[in-house]
């Protein structure tokens, strides 16, 4: 299949709606299985950390929430760029759908980080580079939600949000490398894809489960929001009315 016909297919809200409908049950089942299984494993079966004790068990929710919050932002910025360059309507819908999910995950990352910080560092919060840049990520998501609501015109809203999403993407490498560039209470990454991870395999395995579970959860909820947005924007088309009211009418 040629690139342009693939692009047209993916850009068609109708095709995307039907295709994503088949994915939903798989994403839902697999993400809940991995999240639930990984959490039970990490909460009850993994031995305690020799320095942090049991507070380290927060890792199984904190790291997935943080990683997916950043991944979601990159996805949103890419969708924004696709919308700006090729005027793809579907990309604008995806972009709008990501903002509330990303904001929720960033909130979760900040909150679980604070709760983990108290017994480990002795403080809920420090204004260091990592935590401050993640707080900025949270505000970027809120800014995109607010910007969407500030416009009456959908196309103008999508254009403005795409620009903000792309400009804000500069924050992502800052978050990622903040623990190495600046002095920080926050530890550097323990998982490495190029070298050896500094986390013990018994602790790493459940983390891999909840991390992949959280990515799948993000994909699942993203499809739910995007599909609702497709129905809303295409409400005057025959195919949407047929889906909602049944074929026979």
């Amino acid at each position: 299949m040629s690139i342009s016909s693939t692009f047209h297919k993916w850009g068609s809200p109708r095709w995307f709606y039907q295709f994503s409908g088949r994915l939903l049950p798989w994403l839902a089942g697999l993400s809940l299985l991995l999240l639930l299984g990984g959490c039970i494993w990490g909460l009850a079966f993994v031995p305690a950390d020799y320095k942090q004790g049991n507070s380290f068990r927060i890792i199984y929710i904190h790291v997935p929430a943080s990683a997916v919050a950043m991944g979601a932002y990159v996805t949103m910025a890419v969708a924004g760029a696709i919308h700006l360059i090729w005027r793809m309507k579907l990309a604008a819908m995806v972009m709008k759908a990501i903002a509330p999910i990303g904001a929720s995950l960033t909130f979760l990352a900040l909150l679980t980080g604070a709760v983990w910080g108290k017994p480990t560092w002795g403080t809920w919060w420090v204004w260091d580079a990592r935590i401050t840049s993640v707080l900025i990520l949270f505000f970027l998501y809120l800014g995109i939600i607010a910007l969407h609501q500030a416009f009456e015109n959908r196309d103008a809203a999508a254009k403005a949000c795409a620009v903000l999403a792309i400009v804000g993407a500069v924050n992502i490498p800052i978050i990622y490398w903040s623990v190495e560039w600046w002095y920080s209470l926050h530890q550097p990454a323990s998982i490495s894809f190029t070298g050896e991870s500094t986390i013990h395999p018994t602790m790493l395995r459940p983390l891999m489960a909840t991390l992949s579970g959280m990515y799948l959860f993000f994909a699942w909820v993203l499809l739910l929001f995007t599909r609702a947005e497709i129905l809303d924007r295409e409400r005057n088309t025959r195919w949407v009315q047929d889906i909602v009211c049944g074929e026979a009418r």
Binding site: L35, C39, L43, A44, F45, V46, P47, A48, G53, N54, S55, R57, I58, I61, H62, A65, P100, I101, S104, F107, L108, L111, T112, V115, W116, K118, P119, F217, V221, L224, F225, R227, A228, L231, D232, R235, N236, V240, Q241, V244, C245, R249
Partner: protein, 63 residues
């Protein structure tokens, strides 16, 4: 299981409240995302049904 008793699983040698609070909030936040997405879909469906109903009523009065 790593813990000897169920109450030790809850207590986690003093860290229980931090750990369980984190997981509790996570369930609430992730659950409400699903809830909000579903509610948005239902509202949109109601809206579309109203559009279709109006269309059918107006076409039947023309006849």
């Amino acid at each position: 299981m790593y813990f000897d008793t169920f109450s030790e699983l809850l207590n986690m040698s003093g860290h229980g409240s931090y750990v369980w609070f984190s997981y509790g909030v996570s369930v609430v936040v992730l659950g409400s995302l699903i809830f909000v997405a579903r509610r948005r879909r239902k509202q949109t469906e109601q809206h579309i049904r109203a559009i279709v109903r109006r269309k059918q009523e107006s076409s039947s009065t023309i006849k």
